[in-house]
Amino acid sequence: MSDIYERLATGILEGEAEKITKLVNRGLKKGLSAKELLDNGLIVGMDEVGVRFKRGDMFVPEVLMSADSMAAGMTILRPILIESGAEMLGKIVMGTVKGDLHDIGKNLVSMMCEGAGFEIVNLGFNVDPETFIEAIKEHQPAIVGMSAMLTTTMRAMGHTIKALEEAGLRDQVKVMVGGAPVDKEFSDAIGSDGYGSNAPSGAELAKQLVSAA
């Protein structure tokens, strides 16, 4: 039965979403648990993706295919896992802050986080603090991710964090920030919980934030 795990991992590595859907369904039918399929198959594949990307043997478009495959598997597994009371990585509410129309960096981080096993609620761009707050109330995420590409708009990250405090939601979520002009210093200054310098490190950070919680 180890064969199906190997094929799941390979499917993730090769970014074959349809194959993953088939394999996950087949595994469940054969009586394997959702947890086993996730831990021994999908995550093994994604871990290898991470290693290969870092080494320069895989490229962004391939990693995104893998992340999409992971997401395809999770769509099936998530409800089962939740039902069985398994510990999940949780949700991330993601958005580019108010005044900023840059989309692609935030989308990349979202896709990478999805690949890492998170459920993503993508609020889009030009998201004002109130929209973030409503989304937190509605989706109960573990993490809020904010992106800004401009030195002028990055201040909106600070405003959003303040708004979270005022709404009494700050302690419920971890906040992570990123974008070209953002650095560790700025992240500390506005009281965010972490900063990622690129999409994979954003996903790493997200994992750390929930494991520390």
């Binding site: 990307f53 962004v60 478009p61 129309l101 692609i104 030195t151 002028t152 002009p181 690129n198």
Partner: protein, 486 residues
């Protein structure tokens, strides 16, 4: 006697054939007419509608006749003037001319003393401007950074206020919003002698950028409308990332990026027919491993050369990119990537090539890179200057006079031409080993650092008028007041 002296052509490179350019043009027109762009700006939507564009909510589609009309209205040749009347520093835009200068908005700077990377600060601005003013092959000024140690809304204004007194070469000014733009313009017209005088002899260029893919933001269009209304020569330049925010193919990114620029062109020409307008930008690839927009990739030069051909084909000047690198420091990679892209920009004849002096993929500005690139530009310009063939340069008579076994060192012909036929390096060392050894075995890096230090210690730019200094003080004070109210 020879008589065929009619054709004067330097060494230029053409990437695309007329047939290919006609296909690209067709692609851009198709995109503007059928796909359209999003315009996040009410006033611009009104202007476009009035001009004949089809507006549907934020989505604007522009019929090709309107695009062609706008292309026709924009001039191919015009002049940006030095602020002090020194015609040596004027930039004459027109066929066969390539100009170079730094870029804006790097968060970091290579410290001039320690050579360490640190945030870009206000006191760096005058130094960058002085370097630009002194380097013979740098033609226009940008600041190489975003000022970190002033109120975050006032960075662009402080940059202009720091550059303007320290170089008489034309400045390309970016800004956050139209308040900045108004402040910058007030300073520039004070020196020019009023709005009318400025319109006759514009002394700076206004820079703004749309977003890829296919979006024009409110701030960018605010600034565009300000520039067009005040007849400030305008650069409207996207920064599409192949494989990320634009098609991965060179032809695809050129098509999309040109459409993004021409949206601005249509608005600008509707407001101010004949406004000098540069299409542009930074067209490069997303490195699919490092996940950066590469400033050292060969595709940057390739795409920019293709875009240059398209711009010239439709009769627009181009805002080019070169002299930049992905290297984190001033090393061999920085020199290779910078020099090759500079050479390619010169060959393709891009009208204004910016980002000279960028390192770390536009994250860090470096006057050392700028200084070394000045050398590479000089070298490139000698090559693009080409070979002049006339009776005088053929030198048949001179060869006959000297004959076999003679030498040319004492010939009048040699003395007449050796200075204009040769380019002499400022940094590259051609001395023999013993002299080089005697001089301390200095490397290119050593000599570049020494030249930067020497220029900054000795170079004196032409001062601005005392009344302009007053205007700068006033503009900055008003701006500080404005942000205090926030």
């Amino acid at each position: 006697m020879r008589g065929n002296y009619k054709v004067n052509s330097g060494t230029r490179f053409r990437m695309l054939s007329d047939d290919q350019l006609e296909e690209l043009l067709g692609g851009v027109l198709h995109l503007l007419e059928y796909t359209g762009l999003e315009v996040h700006h009410e006033e611009s939507l009104e202007i476009l509608k009035k001009a004949g564009a089809w507006v549907d909510g934020k989505r604007v589609r522009i019929p090709s006749y309107l695009v062609r009309k706008s292309l026709e209205l924009a001039p191919r040749s015009f002049t940006i003037f030095s602020r002090d009347g020194n015609s040596e520093n004027d930039i004459i835009i027109g066929p066969g001319r390539a100009h170079f200068g730094p870029g804006p908005t790097c968060p970091n700077f290579i410290d001039i003393e320690s050579m360490d990377r640190r945030p870009y600060v206000k006191s760096d601005v005058p130094n960058v401007a002085k370097m630009v003013d002194a380097l013979p092959n740098i033609d226009f000024c940008e600041s190489l950074g975003t000022v970190d140690d002033v109120h975050h809304d006032l960075g662009a204004l402080y940059e202009f206020a720091g550059m303007f007194p320290n170089t008489s070469k034309p400045i390309v000014a970016w800004s956050y919003d139209k308040d900045d733009s108004a402040g910058i313009h007030e300073i520039a017209i004070a020196e020019a002698g009023g709005q009318d005088a400025f319109e006759k002899r514009p002394n700076y260029v206004h820079y703004c950028e749309p977003l890829s893919p296919l979006i024009s933001t409110g701030e960018a269009l605010d600034k565009l409308i300000f520039a067009a209304t005040n007849r400030i020569p305008l650069i409207f330049t996207p920064c599409p990332i192949a494989g990320g925010t634009a098609p991965v193919t060179a032809a695809g990114i050129i098509t999309q990026g040109a459409a993004e620029s021409w949206m601005g062109l249509v608005i600008a020409q509707a407001i101010q027919p004949g406004l000098p307008f540069f299409m542009g930008g930074v067209f490069s690839v997303m490195d699919m491993s490092a996940m950066i927009l590469s400033y050292g990739a060969p595709e940057l030069s390739l795409m920019m050369a293709g875009l240059t051909d398209l711009a010239h084909y439709v009769g627009l000047p181009l805002w080019q990119t070169g002299g930049c690198t992905d290297s984190k420091t001033f090393d061999e990679q920085a020199i290779i990537e910078g020099s090759l892209s500079v050479f390619f920009s010169a060959l393709s004849g891009g009208d204004m090539t910016h980002d000279v002096g960028y390192t770390e993929s536009a994250m860090t500005g470096s006057v050392f890179q700028l200084c070394a690139m000045d050398e590479a530009i000089g070298y490139s310009r000698r090559i693009t200057h080409g070979i002049e063939v006339t009776e005088e340069t053929l030198a048949v008579k001179v060869i006959d006079n000297v004959g076999p076994n003679g030498h040319y060192l004492r010939e009048q012909h040699t003395r007449d031409h050796y200075k204009t036929e040769y380019w002499y390096p400022n940094l590259c060392n051609r001395r023999n080993y013993e002299e080089w050894e005697e001089d301390g075995k200095k490397t290119m890096k050593d000599r570049t650092v020494a030249r930067v230090h020497e220029i900054l210690a000795t170079h004196k730019p032409t001062p601005i008028k005392p009344e302009t200094e007053e205007v700068i003080k006033k503009v900055l004070a008003e701006a500080e007041e404005r942000v205090k109210e926030d």
